[in-house]
Each structure stands twice: as structure tokens, then as C-alpha cells.
Symmetry: C2
DNA sequence: CTGAAAGCGCTTACAG
DNA sequence: CTGAAAGCGCTTACAG
């Protein structure tokens, strides 16, 4: 690859002049500018990124650290981030931490915290202007306590101290919307298959559910709430437990689509029809939810929007614009299909 | 962030000595080494990546250019690549080109070719040691004709001139395996819903199919091959056309899972049961294939293995090791479920 | 074993 | 409008 020096020699001007042209400075005559530009075109010269950012301070690059690109939510989140960032003339350097395959999904372990910090250090050594962290699910993040020197924002998870902007879904509101829909469809006795106790998603969704029930003057039966561990298998088992306890409900609201599929499995096994004998609702709107028989009514997570909003906030921080709040929540959208 | 110079001052040695320690050179006394290492630890010093690679020539970094991270295949491919690369002490810089959302999935357009070349240039300006290109599907790649200066390898697609290593699935063999399985299950008259005519996948799979049929002394009925355009909707329509032409078959082999879902849709609509009235087979083993009712028999693409193998080949090229062939194919694995 | 010096490819005051 | 020079933070012969 040709260097600035060689290019300047070819153009018969100083490297300073070429550099000025490259950087759009106005102190160059049209004549030389045209000549140089032409030769740049011909030679296909590209400035050395290393040298450039070693000298200049701003890189116009943001570091994108991802819990796990394999999480169903990550690609769309990334899409939203890049769409905005590219538009604004920013480059992005992506790193995936492989939370699932390499760290068995334990985001709270000290080992993982170290992996995140290492990744941040790496980004820092590349001199990114800011860092965007994309979580695989809504865990509580405490990695970023110390000042790291560049702005950072979190997408799709919570930050413990609320010191760093974190853009996530509005679990409370979303669950409220779904529950209202279920009630409108005539269901008065609704069972819940949740994820894990004390999970952030879990708590907020339960509260949203209760609010909707109360508003409709319906009683919520705490014994009809069963944890399903977020998996298909877990949903299946939870459904079994539910039926052992009671059959006094007409609808099962699952806190994700995978567990809803487990409920389908159980229902079919018992000779019952989901969507007919029992209404079933999910959450996430994963691809598979539309392939269930019958297709699942669920909540769509506004992934791209969350990604985009995170990028907007990050650039604001980078440019020193004030942010109103670090706690940004975006509600989900109801997707009506045939299971309710 | 502290610099080498400041660090050296703190240690009361020259920057050269610290640099030697950092780079594991053996020409340093244990005493100073210990002292310096301790201070490095305390200060949390990190070498500036830019400066280092501006000076040294090797970066131990590979550039990973991805057609579209949103393709169902990409995350697993990336996983395989990273697993090997991290193990070998390489860093990775990822870029996704957004083939789907930004370029409407036209990998053969000149605009897209330009986007790829720009991305390569960017990687080059970061001085990566090599480039790994991950395709979203098996299009024919012609972007890399000119010598680009560093080794490059392609994962999950073909390279026109076979000058660059390309690791992809063995469509012929995989289709052969599936067809043999279908025949073993007693099917003698098999309809095909393919993708698009003249597609690479298409041709090879058709040949694999024909080979298996011939080996079993079965006749292949060309009119029972219907293109479905790779989508659910397309599969649905193709299935309708098939039935209009003939009902003289017992099994429908779809060249991807999405189209198989479309076949399910059609069958259900006609009051027929997939897996019972007609056997249905897919290809890809996407997540949704296991959520169909009944779960779909399909071919699993060895995505991680392809990714890993690509990384192996790339490092060989970087290290100057000879490669046997540029045309590497890996067969898929049969996943038996309930639809056949 | 240690350090002074050159140089990687750029940008940025500054002088003319 | 143009260019000489310093310097970004490192690594690498080389001299001692």
C-alpha cells in the first residue's frame, strides 16, 4: 500500500498539503486540490488508520461489545445501532464475548466481569470515542463502576447504580398491555409461567399483570404463578405443575415464547388444543413463535429501536449533549395471532 | 491512560527496557523485570494498540467481514471462527455489511461489491493479518479478484475462480444423504420444492437427489420439481402448484426449512396432515424447524465447524503453510424428527 | 543487561 | 497557498 509520503512525491507537493486536502481543510488552491485528488483516485491511496488516530485524537469509531451475538436479540439490536451510527459517519468495531458458549451464561461471575473489562481495555487501546454494550438479556450490570475515560451506554440491560445510560424494554408496561388484551378477549382467570424468581423481567412483568387485573377488578391468584426457567422444557414442566395444582384458569400467559412452546407440548400431550381449550400467550416474538400451531400471540420486542436509541444516546454523550435520564424504557408491541 | 514513557519514568528504566519486558524478550534481568511488572500491574498500563502496530508489522488481528449478521447462519459461523481464533491468540475485528437491510440481498450488484471492497480497505488500513469473509448464503463471490495484500478466506460461499480458499457445505452429499433416508423410509415418489433455478445450492442438491434415486433404481420425475424461492410463502405456493400438477407422490423434500413450513401451511389448509398424509423434509435445521407440528426432519448445517475450519485455513495462509485445496466442502448431518 | 536514537505514517501548529 | 518540523506511542537494531 502506498503511503502519504510516496503520494506526496507523486503529486510533487508536501505531505502537509496532501494531508490538508485529505482532511478537507480549506487552505488549498483549487488547482493543486484537483490534481492531488485525481492521483489519490488513481493510486487508490488509503490513509493508515493507525497512524492517523495515533496522531489525531478523535477516531469517529465506537466500540460495540456484545454479550453474545448468538442471543436471539443481538442481531436486530446490532442492526439498529449500525443503522444510526453509519448514518452519522461513525465506524464500528464489534466484539462478541460469547457469554453463552464460553461463560455458560453467568454474567454475574467475576470471570465474566473480567472478560468485559478486558474487552473495554481493548477498545480503549484502539481509542474508540465511545463504547456501546449490548446485553443478551436484562441482567444487572456492575462492570462499569470506575471511570473508563470514554462515554459508555448499555443496551438491553440495567445498570445497577443508574449512572450510565441504559436503554431497555418496558417490562411493566408491556405485560400490562398483554394482560389487558387477554382480559378483553374474555379471560378472567389467567395463569402465569414466569422465568426465574427475583429476575428483573419477572418482577416488572408480574407487576404489570397485577395492575391490569386490578383495573379490571379481577383477583390474582398467586398460586397460579409458576416459574419455568425460560426454556421450552421448563415451560412444559411448569405447565404440568400448574395443572396438578388447579384447572381453574382459561389462559396461560408465558413470559417468553420458548416456554409457551413447552406449554403447547404439554397441552398436545394431554389431548388439549392450545388456542382452543386454553389460550396461550408468549413474549419476545421470536421467529419460532409464528411457526407454532396455532401461531402464538406474543409481545414483540422493539430490538432495532432499542439499538438505535442506544446509539443516539451514545453520540449525544460523545458530543457532550445533555441527557435527560439514564433510565430509558421502550414498550413492546402486541402481536395478535391465533393462540388467544 | 498512562503511556510507555511515563511508565518507564516511574520504573526508572528506559522505555526500551520496558518494551522488551512487554514483548517477552529474554535480555532483561530478573530483578528489573519483576519491578517493572509490578508497576505495570499497579498502574494498569495498556500498550497503545495504534502505536504498537504502526511500528511492528504484525497485529495478530484478523478482520471478519460478514454479509449480514442477521442471517440465521451467521452467529454460529462467527462462534466457530472466534473459538479457534481466540485459542490461537488472535484478536478479531468484526464488520457486518447489512446485505439484507441495506442492500436488499443483492450480493451480485456492483454497489454491494463496492461495499465489500470498502470494508476490505478498512480492514487493510487497520493492518489486519488476514481477512475472513462470512457469506449469508452460497452466492458466487467475485469481489476479491485483485491481490489485496493479505490472505483471505471465504466461509459459506463459493469463489468463482477457486483462487481463494472457500469453505462451504457439501450440498451434493447432504442431499444424497437425505434422499437415501427418505427412500429407506419407503418413499419411492418424491417431490422437490427447490429454491431458485440455477442457484448453486439448487443444482448440487438436485444432483445428490438424482444420484440417490438412481442408486435405488427409482425414476425421477422432473415435473415434480417446483421452485419455492426459499420463503415460507413461496413454499406454500409451490406446494399448491405441485398438487395441481399431480398427486402421485408421498413425500415432499424442501430445500430449506422455511419452505417446508409453507408446505405444512398448505397441507393443513387442505385438511391433510404433514408427516402422516405426506412426509415432509427440510434443510437447514433452523430453530423453528423443531417447533413445527410435527417437528421437521431436516439436515443440520455444520455452521460452527465451517467457521472453525475457515479460521484454521486462514491461519495456515497467514503462517505460510501450504493448503491442499481451495475447494473445501463439509457435509450436513441428518436430523430425524417426526415429519417423515 | 541497558539505553539512545531512528522511524512507523500520519496531523497540526507555525513560519513564510 | 505551501512546506519544514515536531510529535503521537510504540519497536527495533545497535552500541556500550
Amino acid at each position: 500500500m502506498i503511503t502519504l509520503k510516496e503520494l506526496a512525491a507523486k503529486c510533487e507537493v508536501s505531505i502537509a498539503t496532501v494531508s490538508n486536502i485529505l482532511n478537507g481543510k480549506s487552505n488549498v488552491s483549487q488547482a493543486t486540490k484537483q490534481r492531488v485528488l485525481k492521483i489519490i483516485e488513481e493510486t487508490g491511496y488509503k490513509p493508515n488508520f493507525m497512524a492517523r488516530t495515533l496522531r489525531a485524537r478523535k477516531t469517529n469509531t465506537v466500540g460495540l461489545i456484545i454479550d453474545d451475538i448468538g442471543a436471539f436479540s443481538s442481531p436486530d439490536l446490532v442492526e439498529g445501532v449500525l443503522d444510526y451510527l453509519e448514518n452519522q459517519g461513525y465506524k464500528t468495531i464489534i466484539e462478541t464475548l460469547r457469554l453463552y458458549s464460553k461463560w455458560q451464561n453467568s454474567p454475574d461471575s467475576p470471570e465474566y466481569a473480567k472478560a468485559v473489562r478486558d474487552s473495554v481495555d481493548e477498545m480503549l487501546s484502539i481509542k474508540v470515542d465511545g463504547i456501546l454494550f449490548i446485553a443478551a438479556h436484562a441482567h444487572d450490570i456492575e462492570y462499569f463502576t470506575e471511570e473508563i475515560g470514554v462515554p459508555i451506554v448499555i443496551a438491553y440491560a440495567y445498570e445497577t447504580d443508574n449512572k450510565i445510560p441504559a436503554i431497555k424494554i418496558d417490562d411493566f408496561e408491556s405485560s400490562y398491555i398483554m394482560t389487558k388484551h387477554l382480559i378483553e378477549k374474555g379471560h378472567k382467570k389467567i395463569a402465569i409461567i414466569g422465568g426465574a424468581k427475583n429476575d428483573k423481567h419477572e418482577r416488572d412483568r408480574l407487576e404489570g399483570f397485577e395492575k391490569a387485573m386490578k383495573e379490571a377488578a379481577l383477583t390474582v391468584n398467586k398460586s397460579l404463578v409458576e416459574p419455568g426457567g425460560w426454556s421450552r422444557e421448563g415451560g412444559y414442566k411448569a405447565c404440568g405443575k400448574l395443572f396438578k395444582k388447579s384447572t381453574d384458569f382459561t389462559c396461560i400467559f408465558c413470559f417468553n415464547d420458548l416456554m409457551a412452546a413447552g406449554v403447547y407440548d404439554y397441552l398436545y400431550e394431554q389431548g388439549k388444543l392450545p388456542g382452543k381449550d386454553y389460550a396461550v400467550a408468549g413474549f419476545d416474538n421470536r421467529e419460532m413463535s409464528d411457526y407454532l400451531t396455532p401461531p402464538l400471540t406474543t409481545m414483540e420486542i422493539p430490538l432495532e429501536e432499542i439499538g438505535r436509541e442506544s446509539a443516539v444516546v451514545l453520540l449525544k454523550k460523545i458530543n457532550g449533549t445533555k441527557i435527560d435520564t439514564n433510565d430509558i424504557k421502550i414498550p413492546c408491541r402486541l402481536i395478535q395471532r391465533k393462540s388467544v
